[in-house]
Amino acid sequence: MTPSTRLDATFAALADPTRRAILARLVTGEASVNELARPFDMSQPAISKHLKVLEGAGLISRGRDAQRRPCRLSAQPLADANEWLERYRKIWEANFARLDNLLEEMKAEERARPKSRRRARGAKR
C-alpha cells in the first residue's frame, strides 16, 4: 500500500465506532474474537467482519494459533494518523488560545462601553 492509500484505509477503518472500541480494547492487550464480541452484544460473524476491515487497514494482526487467533494492535498506522492530527491540532490550539485572549479583551471593552454604543462596529483599536 502507498502511504496515501494506507491512510485512507486507516481513516475508513476508524470511521466506525465499533471498530474504534475494538481498537481501544486492544490497547490494553491482545484478545480473541470471543473476548472482543462479549462487550458489544454482537454476533461473532459481525465482529469478524469488523476485524477483517481492521486487518485490511493494517491496524491489527491475528495470531497463528488456529483455535484462538488472538488479535493485537499494530501501532504504526495509528501513530502515523495521530502524528499529523496532533500537529494540525497544535497549530489550531495556538490560534484559538490567542482568540481566547482577544475575546476576553473584546468583552472587557464591551463592558466598558456605554450601552447606547454597544452594537457599534466591533473592537476599535
Binding site: A79, Y88, D100
Partner: protein
C-alpha cells in the same frame, strides 16, 4: 474558565476534517473575531513566529477573502477563496485554496457558531474534493521517523470518541 486544550480535531468520513472548540464569549463576538480582518490578524497567525500581514475579507455571498502569512525569515504563504453562504452570526461557508496547494482541488470550509449560556461552540468542517486531498493536507503535518507509541494511539481514540460524544451535545443546544 479555560478552554485551552479542549480542541477536538478528527477526520470524518473519507473527505472531511472537523474541529470543535468552545469559546467563553457570545456568538456575535466570536463571529466578528472570525470575519473581521483587523481581528483575524491578531489570532489566526498559525505556527510560532508567523504573522498574518495581509488579511482581506469581503463577507458576502460571492465575495472573496485572502490571507497571506509570513514567517520570521520572510517566506510567505497565501490562501483564499470565495464565500458561498453567509448567515451572520450563525455560519458561513467558503471555498479555500492555498497558493501552493499540495493537494488537488478546492476545499469547502463550513463554520458554524452555536451559542449556549453565553458560550459559543464553533465547529469547522473542511471538506476536500477527494480522500487523497484530505489526507494530503493532514499528511503535510507528518514528520519522518514517526515513533510507535501506545500513548499516542490511546490519544487518537480519545479524540475520536470525544468527537462522537460531543455530537449529541451540540444537537441539544
Amino acid at each position: 474558565m479555560s478552554y485551552a486544550g479542549t480542541l477536538v480535531v478528527a477526520a470524518k468520513g473519507d473527505h472531511e476534517i472537523t474541529m470543535i472548540r468552545r469559546f467563553g464569549a457570545p456568538r456575535a463576538m466570536v463571529f466578528e473575531a472570525w470575519t473581521k480582518p483587523e481581528l483575524l490578524k491578531r489570532w489566526m497567525t498559525g505556527p510560532p513566529g508567523m504573522t498574518l500581514p495581509i488579511c482581506e475579507v469581503d463577507l458576502r455571498v460571492g465575495g472573496a477573502y485572502r490571507y497571506v502569512w509570513r514567517t520570521g525569515d520572510g517566506h510567505e504563504m497565501g490562501a483564499g477563496g470565495t464565500f458561498l453562504e453567509v448567515a451572520a452570526p450563525e455560519r458561513f461557508v467558503a471555498t479555500e485554496r492555498f497558493d501552493q496547494a499540495w493537494y488537488p482541488g478546492e476545499a469547502v470550509i463550513t463554520i458554524t457558531f452555536v451559542e449556549q449560556d453565553g458560550e459559543t461552540e464553533v465547529t469547522t468542517t473542511m471538506r476536500y474534493e477527494s480522500t487523497e486531498s484530505r489526507d494530503g493536507v493532514l499528511r503535510s503535518g507528518m514528520t519522518d521517523g514517526v515513533r510507535q507509541s501506545y500513548d499516542r494511539v490511546a490519544a487518537i481514540f480519545e479524540t475520536e470518541l470525544a468527537a462522537q460524544d460531543a455530537a449529541p451535545d451540540r444537537k441539544r443546544a
